[in-house]
């Protein structure tokens, strides 16, 4: 049963990783605009310049 200690520690670490990922995404503004990307993806994109550029 002692292995449970390690498992719990590992699971907390993984969950904590996701938490950090969420905080990072939130700080980067991933949840800021939930509408525009849905429209943007429908445009015919002639110029490669406007996409792949940094998000904010």
């Amino acid at each position: 049963m002692q292995v449970t200690f390690i498992l719990i520690g590992a699971s907390l670490l993984i969950a904590g990783g996701f938490l950090i990922a969420f905080i990072w995404a939130s700080k980067k503004g991933q949840f800021k605009d939930m509408y525009t990307p849905s429209v943007r993806m429908l445009f015919d994109d002639k110029s490669p310049k406007s996409d792949n550029d940094e998000n904010r």
Partner: protein, 808 residues
């Protein structure tokens, strides 16, 4: 924007407005004005035609574009530093607020700015915020040129003092999201580690595991206390400093008691503590806060004077004219103000024919004549020619700025936006609540100290824990938030949830006539009198184009001739009319007196009004404008007059008194020929008699009255343009549902009261456990979430049910 195109009228290819026949063409396309054509040609030449393929007529009407150079002040290094998000040697980024963006075409065009200017590196739109973020090369493109580029394609950014100051405030909602994320994470894990405790207090787990779980819980609780719940402590301390006990005081008390008691039990007594309750409590409270915040995002009402002040003004220094930011105006600067421009600082008139309209400050929209040497206070709007003024006080010390700051202390938002003011019903209770809880805790402590001192502290802290007004704090935001959301869907937009409470207690209804009870939009315009030549029609149309009065707009829409004649000496006198010269001809449009028409015997038919026309002081006839009542008006007024005393205030004459007497009933007070100032005084007078007044106006000349009323509601056909001082905006199409909406607000207050009853019942159960010293962690962990969740469910479901019953 009207999109109706009749047989002989074509819609502008750019903006969809009606075009005068053959006025502006480019190729096969017709346009309503030179501005629209310019935009089209610019886009066409740059192969940006896709703009017109995504949506039909996506542009906005091009008004008079200001002259070149008016953005030059933006290049000033100090200003640039304040408005740029980021800058290094070859890249800079700036975020603009562009209220004109409204469709997918806008997004497409704004994100393809780099095709119009090589120096633009990239541009991104955030559609819901109406924000555009542009990265550009500052060596090749100045900020002013960028703004001019945007203005030239019809997307002039909104740049005001407010815009600059807002740069500093961070994004608080993202912060709340993170708090909920962290708290939710800790809460979920604490619940998992607490489960064994619920089902098998001892035996199932070896004591090693048990202790391990306790310590993990203790660790997980730290981020909740120091990150998730920190705002409640701040707000409670802030409240206590101002000697008020707000709802956050008992919450902070309960949270800290839970935490301290749990740590004590875990570290010294080796038992579970109440960390599960603690985590759940903070998590639910934060969810409530998010819900409350969401309802405010839809419309930005909280504009203040800074949103209306111009950012720059034309200044003459050492004989040179240039635009400088108003914040840099110093005493004895000479500034130039043109027609319809706002005066940014307290000044003395040096030169020019000054007619100042203070509608923005006082709600009194008659313009005041000023002589050379008179002081002109900030906030006035020049109506007429250009003025030269000398600054006597800086912007921050001007009369208006102080007036604004003094007049509005009660509506200042709380520490965290608006949540403090919006829970005022709850706040009223929270003071008594806090003292009652402290009293019961003290009594418990004393009682058990005498009877059995070993559990005295335990029982007393249990009282503080279980009495934490979680349910109480959640019920108000959830109920009012739901109401605000439902009303918003039905077409009534409230400034904040406090307006719901105000609206519920209204007993007096004051309505404006034109534009409120009657609709100007579907008005029919007929000309009666001598026939007009095409040239005369053109003059009339060019003149009314200068005015934003609804009647002028109607006449402008009705006529079908070019409206681009050169005019001079334009004058607008509110309540009377407009006039100007075309060469040597004077054209006047407006009231009978204004246009020197004589009396005439026959009165105009019901629901119509006349706008008279004279050319060179010779009466020429009148436009008969019929403004029909809004659909459903009769029915909604019939039901409203059962519950409220109704007053009608109208700026027009009493020709229609009989009609409105029929609609509004025998008891209604009808007042005609009211100036904006009289309207305001009328509302103030009612309020002095302790009436709770709801003022309904169309926001153009009712500004003062709207501000004076408990609830000022602007009725508008177009919800994106409205006047500054109002608490609510009613979409004109929803007018027939007004009474149902008010009934819903009343019922929602009952829902809150009922939910208070429910949470008190929970508290009594919890307290009876607590005072008898029996509050186990398990009871607390079950009771507290159940009380919160059930109260939230009750308020949300019952409010929705009530709304459905009312048919909203």
């Amino acid at each position: 924007m009207t999109k109706t195109a009749t047989e002989h009228q074509t819609a502008c290819f750019h903006c969809g407005e009606n075009c005068p026949t053959g006025a502006y063409r480019s190729g096969e396309k017709s346009f309503c004005c030179a501005g629209c054509r310019t935009v089209y040609e610019l886009l066409n030449n740059n192969e940006l035609n896709t703009y017109y393929n995504i949506e039909e007529s996506p542009g906005s009407t091009q008004g008079n574009n200001g002259e070149a150079g008016r953005f030059e002040y933006l290049d000033d290094p100090a200003i640039a530093h304040r408005i740029l998000d980021f800058k290094d040697d070859n890249k800079a980024r700036i975020t603009f607020s562009i209220p004109q963006m409204h469709c997918a075409s806008c997004i497409w065009l704004l994100e393809n700015l780099h095709r119009l200017s090589q120096a633009v590196l990239a541009s991104r739109v955030s559609f819901l915020d109406k924000k555009l973020s542009v990265s550009f090369d500052p060596n090749r493109l100045r900020i002013s040129a960028l703004v001019e580029l945007l203005a030239s394609i019809g997307y002039e950014p909104e740049i005001s003092l407010d815009f600059i100051d807002k740069k500093k405030s961070g994004d608080s909602r993202g912060n709340l999201h993170r708090k909920i994320g962290v708290t939710g994470f800790c809460f979920g894990n604490i619940m998992l580690f607490s489960f064994p405790e619920y089902f098998a207090p001892e035996g199932l787990l070896t004591s090693g595991f048990q202790q391990f779980f306790f310590y993990i819980n203790a660790l997980l609780a730290l981020p909740i206390l120091f990150y998730g719940a920190i705002d409640y402590f701040r707000s409670a301390i802030h409240g206590l400093r101002q000697r008020t006990i707000n709802m956050d005081v008992p919450i902070a008390l309960g949270i800290s008691m839970l935490f301290i008691r749990s740590y004590y039990e875990i570290l010294l007594l080796n038992s579970a503590g109440y960390l599960d309750s603690f985590a759940g409590l903070v998590f639910f409270l934060l969810l409530g806060k998010l819900f409350q915040k969401k309802t405010f995002d839809s419309l930005a009402f909280d504009r203040d004077y800074r949103s209306f002040f111009p950012l720059s003004t034309r200044t003459r220094r050492q004989g040179r004219e240039r635009f400088i930011p108003v914040t840099e105006l110093v005493v004895s600067d000479r500034i130039l103000i043109r027609n319809r421009e706002l005066i940014p600082a307290d000044t003395v008139l040096i030169e020019g024919d000054a007619r100042i309209d203070y509608a923005f400050v006082t709600g009194e929209s008659d313009s005041v004549k000023k002589e050379v040497g008179d002081i002109i206070y900030a906030g006035g709007r020049q109506v007429g020619g250009t003025l030269e003024l000398e600054v006597v006080k800086e912007v921050s010390q001007s009369y208006l700025t102080r007036l604004w700051n003094e007049a509005k202390p009660e509506s200042q938002p709380g520490v965290d936006g608006s949540s403090v003011s919006s829970v005022n019903l709850a706040n009223r209770i929270s003071k008594h609540f806090t003292f009652a809880v402290l009293g019961i805790a003290a009594a418990t402590l004393v009682f058990w100290w005498i009877v059995d001192s070993s559990i005295a502290v335990k029982a007393a802290t249990a009282v503080l824990i279980v009495a934490c007004p979680c349910a109480l704090a959640l019920s108000t935001p959830f109920t009012l938030g739901t109401v605000v959301r439902i009303l918003g869907k039905s077409g009534l937009y409230l400034k904040n949830s406090r307006t719901v409470e105000e609206l519920a207690s209204v007993d007096n209804l004051v309505v404006d006539k034109t534009g409120t009870l009657t609709t100007v939009k579907q008005a029919e315009v007929e000309f009666a009198g001598k026939g007009l030549t095409t040239e005369e029609q053109s003059m009339v149309r060019s003149l009314v184009r200068q005015s934003s009065h609804p009647m002028s707009r109607k006449i402008h829409d009705r006529l079908d001739v070019p409206d681009n004649l050169v005019l001079s000496g334009f004058e607008e006198k509110t309540g009377s009319g407009i006039s100007c010269q075309f060469g040597d001809k004077t054209v006047r449009i407006g009231s009978r007196k204004w246009t020197s028409h004589g009396e005439h015997s026959e009165s105009s038919p019901a629901g119509t009004s006349r706008v008279y026309l004279s050319i060179d002081s010779k009466p020429h006839g009148w436009f008969l404008i019929s403004a029909p009542l809004r659909p459903g008006m009769k029915a909604v007024m019939d039901s409203l007059r059962q519950d409220y005393s109704i007053s009608l205030l109208s700026g027009d004459n009493n020709a229609e008194e009989k009609n409105f007497r029929q609609i509004l009933g025998e008891n209604a007070a009808l007042h005609f020929e009211q100036s904006p100032h009289q309207k305001k005084e009328f509302v103030e007078h009612l309020r002095q008699q302790r009436a709770q007044v709801l003022m309904l106006g169309d926001g153009l000349n009712d500004g003062g009255a709207l501000a004076a009323a408990n609830v000022g509601m602007a009725v508008t056909e177009d919800i994106s343009s409205f006047s500054p001082a109002c608490d609510a905006i009613l979409d004109a199409a929803s007018f027939d549902r007004l009474h149902k909406m008010i009934i819903l607000t009343r019922k929602s207050i009952n829902v809150i009261k009922t939910s208070f009853g429910i949470s008190f019942a929970y508290n009594i159960v919890g307290l009876s456990f607590a005072v008898s010293g029996l509050l186990s962690p398990l009871v607390s962990a079950i009771l507290m979430p159940i009380s919160s969740v059930s109260v939230v469910l009750f308020t949300t479901l019952s409010t929705n049910w009530l709304a459905r019953k009312e048919g909203l």
